[in-house]
Symmetry: C2
Subunit: 339 residues, 2 copies
């Protein structure tokens, strides 16, 4: 009897919205660790909007997943076999093992996790990549000052909720945008946003304007699309726009209809002295990760920063869960409990 | 016999390209300085692209000139009458007197000029607002590093020529864009650009690409339009785009035809970690003016930074000269010798 491992590969590239048939669940022989290697059993898989980008061939900041290749992703895993002196069975690690039940590792890039310090799933959310995205994007680019207005969309997600809470810690006013009454209630009640605005409302643009009587000083851009259209006219002189995602555009299949608004954007960047700056969180890791671990660790421990997780069960649930994430169907940080 | 002064007012707002009838030359009684005032005789009037913005009603970073109001502008003037202890007849000053032959001043904002230190017209160009725009935009936003490629358009103008020369002092490669063979020769021969590219050539985009084999790290944006379109695909990861002008768009009369390229721009800002930041030079004056005066003063004095002036004679020549400036017909810093 051979033990088997499972993995999900990119079966084909999506055109627009990904569909279940773009993914394929495969059963493969259990990997066997060689000298200096570990066998990891994946416990939790993080699902994040950037994964849509990896499914496409379009040039981006990272190479696409090849068709037939295992989908990439951050994971929390348990060491089940070790041929290394520095790891023992039972150790929990943050790894980038992808969408699979088991993986080999030579130890490179693994971060040991201590479940006594914080629930290990937080390494995929508030204390991991999404939390760091919020922290570094605000610190380096957004630079909110006391009394300023910070707006963020997808505000019930792991990046947005951290942006709002950090903005408030910095003394700014936090305006969160989310889809639907339940998410908006979450923003106010769990995350302490000053105002929550529902982007599904037919009066969304007017609601947002009313929520920002002094304009917008920082817009943390992670969605684009109609939310950007509503925020844009509200941007104050010297406003900063850290751009870390554009999830509303990820499923676009061709050029957008005119008129061409690029000249108007450049004009506003000029006349309002705007800063629009894209970033990938890992480019800030060397400079900011130690400060993030210390500050965010304290804030999470003392409850000043709260988080919400949406955990789905089973590796086979990952494709539908990612499709739903791209449409805003998750509530909080989306995680697959693999094992 | 009453002495008369002359001034040019905004007769009407232009629709698109300004025309001579948008301006009106008026003769008015000679102003008489009151207690604490000076009478200035304007010697030189600076013409700059921003003036097109002041002729429009559209919201910008500065209030428009009212219809019937005197056109604004920086000037070099001579004190001809003084009722202040701190200025004497014969003193030369940098003032913001506008398009007129004579003006009153209470001394506010005047900067004394020493013709022994540098030709006084440089206070309107390389050692004045345009030079400072280049200096501060590069220092604060562009941040060129040794070996990087810096691209600037309108490169024979006072901002562009300073950008290229400062970039080279910082160890970067300077690629200048200008219209026509004569300006391109000026870029290479007078200003020392590594490459000059003619934007009137039918192969402009390909020529620019060939001139930037390692891509573009800093694009100093002062024109927009077709030049932006050619630079955009060449921007490297982490490229910086200081935006200080969009002269190619200033005469636009309506929305541009589609497709809408805004989503693509935001996507590139994200995936290439671009920084696009608008600025008005005066916002950097408090922090950077002393360093500018010292560094740029030295560079101009020792010939490391050269400049070119295009001087037209007579206040009445100002409207045609500004219209020409907006179409790139000037060669170097455009100045009206008023008196």
């Amino acid at each position: 009897m051979t033990e088997l491992a499972r993995q999900i590969v990119l079966a084909s590239r999506p055109h627009g919205r990904p569909a279940p048939e773009n993914f394929r669940l495969e059963t493969v022989p259990m990997p066997v660790p060689g000298a200096g290697e570990l066998l990891l059993k994946v416990r939790y898989l993080s699902l994040d909007p950037y994964m849509r980008g990896r499914m496409s061939e379009a040039k981006s900041y990272a190479a696409p997943v090849p068709v037939g290749g295992v989908m990439e992703g951050g994971t929390v895993a348990e060491v089940v076999e070790s041929r290394r002196p520095d790891f023992a069975p039972g150790d929990l690690v943050l790894s980038y093992s992808g969408w699979r039940s088991h993986a080999l590792s030579d130890g490179t890039g693994l971060v040991r996790l201590d479940p006594a310090e914080a629930p290990v799933t937080t390494a995929l959310g508030v204390l991991g990549m999404p939390g760091f995205t919020a922290y570094a994007g605000l610190k380096i680019i957004g630079q909110p000052k006391a009394g300023e207005t910070v707006v963020v969309a997808a505000a019930s997600g792991p990046v947005g909720s951290a942006v709002g809470q950090i903005a408030r810690i910095r003394g700014a006013r936090a305006v969160g945008i989310a889809g639907g009454a339940r998410k908006c209630a979450l923003l106010r009640e769990a995350f302490g946003f000053d105002v929550a605005v529902d982007h599904r409302s037919p009066t969304f643009a007017a609601d947002l304007k009313a929520a920002c009587p002094d304009g917008v000083d920082v817009y943390f851009e992670n969605v684009g699309g109609a939310v950007w259209d509503a925020v844009w006219p509200l941007l104050n002189r010297f406003a900063r726009v850290p751009v870390c995602g554009l999830v509303a555009q990820y499923n676009a299949t061709g050029p957008a209809a005119g008129p061409d608004r690029l000249p108007q954007l450049m004009r506003d960047i000029l006349t309002r002295s705007l800063t629009v700056r894209g970033f990938i969180q890992r480019d800030f890791a060397a400079a900011e990760m130690p400060a993030f671990r210390e500050e965010m660790g304290l804030w999470v421990a003392d409850g000043r920063v709260r988080y919400q997780e949406d955990i789905v069960a089973g590796l086979e649930a990952a494709p539908e869960a990612l499709i739903g994430l791209l449409e805003g169907r998750n509530f909080g940080k989306l995680i697959v409990a693999v094992a």
